[in-house]
Amino acid sequence: MSEFGNYLLKRVAFAILSIFIIITFDFFLFRLMPGNPIEILYRNPALTSAQIAVLNRQFGLNLPLYQQYYLFIWNSLLGNYGISIYYRTAVSQVLYPSLENSLVLLVPATTLAILLGIMTGRIAAWRRGTVTDGFLTGSSMALYSIPTFWLGEMLILLAIASSSFPVSGMYTIGEGFSNGFVQLFDLLRHLVLPLVTLTLVLYGQFTIIMRNSLIDVLDEDYISFARSKGATERYIMRKHAMPNAELPMISLIAVNLGLTVGGAILTEVVFNWPGIGLLIYDSINARDYPVLQAAFLIVAIAIVLANVVADVLYSYLDPRIRYS
């Protein structure tokens, strides 16, 4: 167990180092962006130098770089992300609602994609070499190849033509909902298209991951042993293969979170979903450094932590792993 303790310690130390690197990186990346954000945002024929100086002071852009850096690290650790240049309010006030909205889309989409991926991956592995396997693997690769934004647009075209589902936003704005149930229903209606888009593009890769890790397991000696003892394929699948194949899924899912976030940005932009991806997209155009910095930081740290948790969980559960 002390070996595991060491491993744990090492992973946590790495996470802290990674987060520090991310913060540093985040800081300098945005200082390198061309264009003074003040200048472009207030491209106003009437702005005087005195006014620009006031703004620079307000956003802390007049301090020496090392001081800005020091303040940035300190404030990031405290969860204080500064004032949004565009919205002129605390970044957290803009960021947290977006984050929440993103989760409403991301969590169901990822969960659904994983569940479906496990199901079809299992069938494909079980029937490997058959037409079923060929079809499932082929269609998974096809889904994996579809450009997210294009799939979204195709669905929008369909939805407009059939006037079936709302194609934009998260709920019907300004509607006086008579009760919470109707309101939830409204949210779900808006969720359908983005959810389908995101689930479909994520689903393919999970099927392939599941299939391949199951096939790896099925060739292990203990499976052949069980088979030679006369156990049915179904029994082997359920009792031996699945539990061992599900394990690597945990860390692979964590590693793929970065991709998931990328898919979410494109989906949110296409469907006007007020999440963090849309916020990032808008903030690039508005050159809103503080919001971009905070969004990048939160997303990156969340993924680093998820990976550490997955790694630790994986090594804790798998007796075969060596803590090297």
Binding site: Q51, E100, I156
Partner: protein, 595 residues
């Protein structure tokens, strides 16, 4: 193996619980938003209008840079005076009358005695003094508009005397909103968001509407102000919701689906969708936006030096087929321009030097300037100095695909006279970084919003000192021009100011730091249930300068009340619950049997 199984299952269960809780959070977020929405909405009909591209930055009129904020604020605050529908005549707003004394440089405003804030407090001269002082602060984005004012004094509770220079007094009197001092003096105006999200007074204004809800990046909602003191302009509708969209695509599809009823800024390509459809009206309004090609003429600029040659600029102006570009890119929904002020601006001067499309004239201008030989790539070069080649890069905002398209056609136009134009589409931030502070670009194709139509404000872009603050993208410096601007600010009559600004426009037309391109029409589409909408104000009824859109608007036939089909929702929801429950029971039962 049991350990893994349990953990994996519990992860799935946690994920599903998270999923459920997210749905609830989303629902409650929507819930808190709509709570206020239903509170007062019983007093009249609700209409929803759309906006796309930029969001509300802040609702504080002294800090906002967003046009959407300006549009919303003109419904909730009053300036001292306004313009009538023709955009030429000054009419009363908060001030019911005024006395101008040009000799003393003063104007005395008599406030409407019945003017009252939405919380019942009377509007007094103290509010005016407070607002004008706030507008003059360094953090204020309207400071330049009040720069001509030397003092604002209350001479009675309903009388204010303003001392100012020049004749451009309507520039500030019609654009500075008067805010309630009794609310604003308790907050820090340099960071105030324009409303209190907590407390009993969510928002206090004196306009025909009052803000009742605002969710950043999603929507803002205003409702009829029952205490509005100009009874004759009391709105007939109850609520207006301004919905924000990222792209024009999502805004247009919402309009088609009927979830919003009005939108300005439809692209020409979309007009066909709505024309001939009885459910919609399509109108056009003059735009306050105009596009220009800026040429780097700064004496110390680091762009291609051949652009400082006036003949080259004239040749470029003659080689651009602006009518063709307007027809191709805007499908005819744009007018070509000749001045740096938009034609709707009151100071627009019409008798200017123009450059008709004439490639052969352009060619001969280049020949006369000595650019007679060509590189192997067919680019003209100076016969005496072959390092001087007529090859340029034009920066264009990548966010506006129409501007990129226009630049691409210009490149084709210029290639006919031996000029090579590389189109470089970038984010506006990258453009700004290339242009300021060192002026390293050759040209840029960009736009201005001429939203103070009562003043030749945009002429100040060409002042020498603008290079420092980063708005002069041509780097034009000319002391004669600077002196004319000083004279304009101190003009003693409207006619004199007009003449000076005309002279300045002619200087720019001759020296071509900018080649004015076109002003796209504002295309408005709105539901045919909305009547009494005027399209004469620049910028159109939904987002332009028309502060009367929502006070005059009448909804023809009551829009069908939201379908009270709760039973249907209950049935659908119930069916879903039953299916999920049945599936869960089946799974559990099967597990039991196997085990």
């Amino acid at each position: 193996m049991q350990k893994q199984r349990v953990v994996f299952r519990s992860i799935l269960i946690v994920a599903i619980m998270l999923l459920a809780s997210m749905a609830v959070i989303g629902q409650s977020a929507a819930g808190s938003a709509s709570q206020t929405a239903t509170s007062n909405a019983t007093t009249g009909q609700t209409i929803k209008v759309g906006w796309f591209g930029t969001y509300i930055d802040t609702l504080n009129p002294f800090l906002s840079y967003s046009e959407l904020t300006a549009w919303i604020n003109m419904n909730v605050y009053l300036p001292l005076v306004s313009y009538d529908a023709g955009n030429k005549t000054i009419v009363p707003a908060l001030a019911s009358s005024w006395d101008i004394n040009y000799a003393n440089h003063t104007v005395i405003f008599h406030l409407n005695p019945s003017a009252v804030w939405s919380d019942g407090v009377p509007v007094t001269s103290a509010d005016v003094v407070y607002s004008y002082n706030t507008a003059a602060q360094n953090y204020s984005f309207v400071a330049s508009e009040v720069s001509a004012i030397s003092s604002v004094k209350a001479i009675g509770t309903e009388t204010v005397m303003v001392t100012f220079s020049g004749v451009l007094w309507t520039m500030w009197a019609a654009s500075i909103f008067v805010v309630p001092a009794h609310v604003w003096s308790t907050v820090n105006a340099s960071t105030y968001a324009g409303y209190n999200s907590t407390g009993s007074q969510y928002f206090v204004g004196d306009g025909p509407f009052v803000l009742t809800n605002y969710v950043p990046n999603q929507y803002a909602q205003i409702e009829k102000n029952a205490k509005f003191f100009i009874r004759s302009e009391m709105p007939t509708i109850g609520t207006v919701i301004f919905e924000e969209f990222t792209s024009q695509s999502s805004a247009v599809s919402s309009l088609q689906a009927g979830s919003i009823q009005g939108l300005t800024g439809i692209l020409p390509a979309d007009v066909a969708n709505f024309q001939g459809n009885a459910k919609f009206n399509v109108t056009t309004s003059p735009s306050i936006e105009y596009f220009y090609l800026s040429i780097n003429v700064a004496p110390y600029g680091k762009g291609n030096p051949t652009l400082r040659n006036l003949s080259v600029r004239q040749a470029i102006a003659h080689a651009l087929n602006l009518t063709y570009i307007a027809d191709t890119v805007y499908h005819g929904y744009a007018t070509t321009l000749d001045s740096v002020l938009s034609p709707t601006n009151q100071y627009y001067w019409s008798n200017l030097t123009t450059y008709a499309y004439n490639p052969s004239l352009a060619n001969s201008l280049l020949n006369q300037s000595g650019f007679t030989t060509y590189t192997s790539g067919g680019i003209r070069e100076n016969a005496n100095n072959t390092s001087q080649q007529l090859s340029y890069t034009v920066l264009v905002p990548s966010g506006d695909s129409l501007e990129v398209d226009a630049a691409n056609i210009m490149a084709t136009n210029l290639s006919k006279i031996g000029i090579k134009l590389n189109v470089q589409a970038e984010t506006t931030g990258s453009m700004a970084a290339t242009i300021w502070p060192n002026l390293t670009q050759d040209m840029d194709l960009w736009d201005w919003f001429d939203n103070i139509q009562s003043a030749p404000q945009l002429l100040s872009v060409f002042l020498s000192n603008q290079v420092v603050t980063g708005t002069s993208d041509s780097g034009y410096t000319n002391t004669t021009y600077d002196n004319l601007w000083a004279k304009l600010l101190n003009a003693t009559s409207q006619a004199q100011a007009m003449a000076i600004s005309g002279q300045m426009q002619e200087m720019l037309a001759q020296q071509l730091p900018y080649i004015p391109l076109f002003s796209p029409s504002a295309i408005n589409v709105y539901s045919s249930t909305l009547t009494n909408i005027s399209s004469s104000y620049p910028g159109g009824p939904f987002g332009g300068l028309d502060y009367q859109t929502f006070t005059q608007l009448v909804v023809k036939s009551p829009s069908s009340p939201p379908s009270n089909n709760n039973t249907l929702y209950y049935i659908l929801g119930g069916v879903a619950v039953v299916i999920v429950a049945a599936a869960a029971v089946a799974v559990v039962a099967m597990r039991r049997r196997k085990a």
